[in-house]
Amino acid sequence: MKKYGLLILLLIIVVRLNAQSWEVPDDKKAKVSPVQFSSETAKKGEVIFLRNCQSCHGNPTKGNFANLIPSPGDPATDKFQKQTDGALFYKITTGRSPMPQFKDVLTEEERWQVISYFRSFNKNYVQPPVASASKVAAKQAALTVVWEAASRKLKVTASDTLKRSLKGVGVLLFVKRYFGNMQIGEEMTTNDSGIVRFDFPKDIPGDKTGNLDLIIRINSEKGDDVQKTVRLPLGVIVDKPPLTLPRAMWNVVWKSPVWLLLAYFLVVIGVWSFLIYIIYQLVKMKRRAGNV
């Protein structure tokens, strides 16, 4: 067993060495929060942290994080505090094994609140100047969607309230599914005419008529995304019968295999008709004897 333990230890060390580096692109490192950190944002961040992060990272300053490879670490330590806000934001957003990504779980604002909570353990921390309003005033944007059947492309035009096209805006496409929206392709940036064209796959299952609910969203950093939902018949027609349709051993009794129904009732009726006949004979004998 000792040998085995040693092997694991060795493995842990090797993997740790490899896993130390988690590269963050420079532009992401430089990103700063649009939210002013305060005790209030830290409080909100704590609630989120306890719900989503504590099981691996433990309680900050306590060092009670889970024994994983690579190590999750304690957010109150230098390992975290020496990183820029942007780097932390990037890591929370994208994740890497075994850390889950949180881009669909936490809004950008919530992610910044978690960072605010982290910084509350660092007395020397000074927040860099808050980022000014994002490049697009998303609230004022409008989206038009056109299906180009010949090329199977979905054309999305982004414009502002004055119908001027918005260029250089990130647009995402989703299909609505039961438990969440499923992204189609990657985020695309509008051209000079404010247009993006998404390749739309042929094999996305739709409803009984092939309809799909598409969600087109302009990504804004402040969380006030512009979103438009359109219903288009772009999906594959799916009309699967209920799983309980066929006759089977596991189905309800009236959907049991026909041969079983026949065999059971024929045998039971066959045997019991003889028994009833015999009982009838006995009753008859009694009755005749009584008459005599």
Partner: protein
Amino acid sequence: MEPINLSEKITTDILRPVGITKSFKIWMTALLVAFGICIYAYTLQLRNGLGVTGLRDYISWGMYIANFVFFVASSLIGMLISAVLGLSGAKWITPIARIAEIIALAFASVAGLVIISDMGRPERLPNVFIYGRIQSPILWDVTVVTTYVVISALLLYLPLIPDLAICSRRMDTPPWLRKIYRLMSLGWSGTPEQTAMIQKCTRILLILIVPVALAIHTVTSWLFAATPRAGWNSSVFGPYFVSGAFVAGAAAVIIAMYFFRRNYKLHDYITDSHFDKMGKLLVLVSLVYLYFNINEFLVPGYKLEKAEAKYLHEIFAGRYAVLFWSAQLLGVIIPIILLLIKSVRKPLPMMIIAAFVLAASWIKRLLIVVPTQEHPFLPIQYVPQNFKFYTPTLTETLITLASIILVLIIVTILSKFFPVIPIEETINELKHGDK
């Protein structure tokens, strides 16, 4: 000897033990007291749930189900003796046919109750009839056990009718009992028409009981074989169970024959020759059973598939090895060897051997039910230790004991109020033998 005197003697001999005697009262009181204690154990189970047993999530069938299988098995002997031997013209079975039928009826009817003791919600039994799914082997079992009980009861009752008429004419019986006998004899007067009817109906029943009896134990084996579990997932389970059933039943009949002969002083009717023949019969059915045992264990033991290997190891060399090998040796192999010796086929040694065979049969049923469940395909983890292995509790044992006592009570009552040896038939056979 005058034929009339002879039949008079036969009637007196056979009817001597019938009626309420002092020893009967003592024996019944003892049985009822014991039964009462066991029933108290059942009320504990009713109140606190099946948690009073040693059963848990993984080993969820134990002693009750093993006992149920054993009871169904023992009841099969009625069919073998009355129908298979009777229809093939073996005359020697006449004095023991009714004993076999009494045992069959007692075991079969109590088997139904045993299964209720295993239910978590016995008060919901009617659901089986309201919502019954005929795809479930349980429903087949309910159907076929009910049918078998009815056939066994009729097969016991029909040949009894002439004897009941004789009983009702006996002056030394209490009047209320005579009234019951008269009522039950259905006005039998021995007319040719009545005789023909009884003969015809008995014949129908004797033919009918063969497939039904085979079905009752085959279906019971399917309770296990219809699941995909290692150790149960076997295609020889049907005949394996049926052959084992004949062994258990024959042993039960031998024990019953011994005590009826001794206690009811029926030495003239249940003779050494009957024991000799039953001994040979037990050897025959044991050999068939041994053959199926070899099939059941050699074939998977040769291949040693992952799950099967674990299970086989457990019964051959593991936790259940002692039980398994003693059941196989003391309950099958040694009895076969001993019973091949003519001098062993005498009442007392045979009774002792039969007791071993019967006990081994019971243990064998437990070994069919339990070890498979202790080794499911996926490991048993993160549960208390008592979830991993099955150890029966006292309560559970008492409840099982209750069923055995109930069988004894039924056998005692049936044999005390009705002649255990057919009077009319014995007389007729002797008359025909004289001519």
